[in-house]
């Protein structure tokens, strides 16, 4: 290509070393973080942390948080926040529980219905933010309380006074969709691995790790889809544009309002997915589900390289951010440290991530 030759001639441009190019990726910080945290736990934690069962152990909470974190990251790239996702988990859990237990609907109806409900709430959030022009921070902070309260009141109403709704497991038992949302996948493969002696098994011959928990598969799937949408589709370009500068974007013909509302809907749906998975898994739903998850999701996104100002970030980064989160939460139990160091650790990570992202942003925009 002639352009290549021309480019090579520009004497003012030094060839960029591989490392410098890498430095410009938003997810670099998160990947570096995973490596550091891994080294830390390799040095301090019991060796069982990095066995197959240990890894599944910390990936499971990472997956649940990660699904929220990736959605939060996309929304943040689009220039908005959603503080109501944690409460949304409880609310969607309640809707799902009532539909399956009280109404006795099969999953093929109750799951789509839950998603529709969640999407509607997300759309309302988005519409209020767009129409009022208020910061999404304050609008969704209201949502945080409204949805949490509604979940409490609703659960009491439907259960006759309890804030916990039981009987989900019985209701979904035997449903053909249940294996998609709970239990372990690829069991046959793990049995086979155990048979040929590649992984540990109990004396009875069943493998110690019966399969991959399905939420981990959902987590990976969500990360892949989000990355594809962000980096390879026109919609992805619109998300970056809407978050980068909404005026410039809409002057260039990007439907900014639609993009943002769709992002709010997607975030609420991610919360609904987590709700469905955890409710089926534990067999019940309660009003405290998803408590504080909104902040953890935002932390995940920021550790993953998202700028709080929007327009920059990555879904893969949030994926690794969630893994760091899972490793630290679970990992400390494998060490001799007091577990309560967890929050200190997390706050520290967040602070480092923000400072790091800020430096990266200056590099990318060439700010001096």
């Amino acid at each position: 290509m002639p352009a290549d030759a021309a480019m090579a001639m520009d004497e003012r441009v030094k060839t960029e070393p591989f490392l410098a190019r890498l430095m410009k990726r938003p997810e670099l910080g998160a990947i570096g973080g995973v490596i550091l945290v891994t080294i830390f736990f390799l040095a301090t934690a019991d060796s069982s942390m990095f066995t197959l069962s240990g890894i599944m152990n910390f990936l499971t909470p990472a997956a649940q948080l990660g699904i929220l974190g990736i959605a939060a990251a996309m929304l943040m790239i689009g220039g908005e926040f959603d503080l109501s996702i944690g409460s949304m988990v409880a609310f969607a859990g309640m809707i799902f529980g009532v539909l399956t237990v009280n109404l006795g609907l099969p999953l093929i109806l109750s799951i789509p219905a839950t998603f529709v409900f969640a999407a509607l709430v997300g759309a309302v959030n988005g519409l209020i933010v767009i129409r009022s022009g208020l910061p999404s921070f304050i609008v969704t902070l209201a949502g945080l309380f409204i949805l949490r309260g509604a979940s409490l009141v609703g659960l009491k109403l439907f259960t006759g006074g309890s804030t916990q709704l039981r009987g989900v497991r019985e209701a979904v038992e035997g449903d053909m969709l249940t294996p998609l949302f709970s239990g372990d996948a690829f069991g046959f493969f793990f049995t086979w691995l155990a048979d040929i002696g590649l992984i540990e098994k109990f004396r009875s011959g069943t493998p110690k790790v019966p399969g991959i928990p399905v939420e981990i598969l959902w987590f990976v799937l969500v990360a892949l889809v989000a990355t594809y949408v962000l980096l390879r589709t026109a919609r992805g370009n619109w998300i970056f544009a809407a978050g980068g500068d909404r005026n410039a974007a809409s002057n260039s013909g990007v439907p900014v309002d639609k993009v943002k509302i769709a992002l709010f809907m997607a975030t609420a749906c991610a919360a609904a997915l987590v709700a469905i998975i955890t409710v089926i898994d534990s067999g019940s739903t309660d009003a405290r589900r998803g408590f504080m998850k909104e902040f953890e999701a935002i932390i995940t996104a920021v550790i993953g390289g998202c700028l709080l100002t929007g327009g920059y970030g990555s879904a893969i980064g949030a994926f690794f951010g969630a893994i760091i989160f899972g490793m630290v939460t679970i990992g400390l139990t494998y060490t001799s440290f007091d577990q309560d160091w967890f929050q200190v650790f997390l706050g520290g990570m967040l602070l480092i991530a923000v400072l790091f992202n800020n430096a990266i942003r200056k590099r990318v925009t060439g700010e001096r």
């Binding site: 480019m7 520009d10 026109a234 370009n237 980068g244 005026n247 410039a248 260039s252 013909g253 925009t365």
Partner: protein, 272 residues
Amino acid sequence: MTADTTFHHGDPATGVPIVEMRNIEKHFGNVIALAGVSFDIRPGECHCLLGDNGAGKSTFIKTMSGVHKPTKGEILFEGRPMSFASPRDAMEAGIATVFQDLAMIPLMSVTRNFFMGREPKKGKGLFARMDLGAANEICVEEMRKMGINLRGPDQAVGTLSGGERQTVAIARAVYFGAKVLILDEPTSALGVRQTSNVLATIDRVRKQGVGVVFISHNVRHALAVGDRFTVLNRGKTLGTATRGEITPEALQDLMAGGQELAQLEGSLEGTI
């Protein structure tokens, strides 16, 4: 035939004007922003619109680009009366405006900015995706035509200089089929070198047959590239001059409304 200069090569085609604006008036409440302005732009011509601050330049180009509707007067587009409901309408007809904020997002790559809102696609249905390969190639090629060699298509716009950004915005408008390109003070915030880059770009675009409306209050920049010069003062056209017919001093005087500047110039001993 006028002589070739650094930023002006060859004469424009004398054709039917692409856009003709006749006796445009625009009132905002009791403020008369435009009081009968006539202006036209032909293919391959650079028509400079000059005027001091408050002369009505911005209102005028916003009327031309579909942001404002004129209170009175008519707009002919390729000979037919036309009324634009929105900037989008004007854009689709082929009137592209590069405003001073450039509609660029610093954190995004040049390619992503170039195709923002108009991404090339491949694949169908669920698998419709942005054709990044083609987008990158087109972007690098278009920028090269404008004399800018990108480090790479993924270079963030934030790392470009002001003049380069201006050029990306111009290249983008031209690539997407602008017949008329309105440039709102493209050189006002630029250094000497960057200004000459932008002026060279304007010359290039003009030669491709695009009509360029160059808004400026810098007489020297206008004279370097312009074919015709219309001066706006207090919402009225003070007249249109052709290349080679007018001296910088005369233009400068017209812009400031003649007399006052002559006096001012006297007191400053000819420094402006």
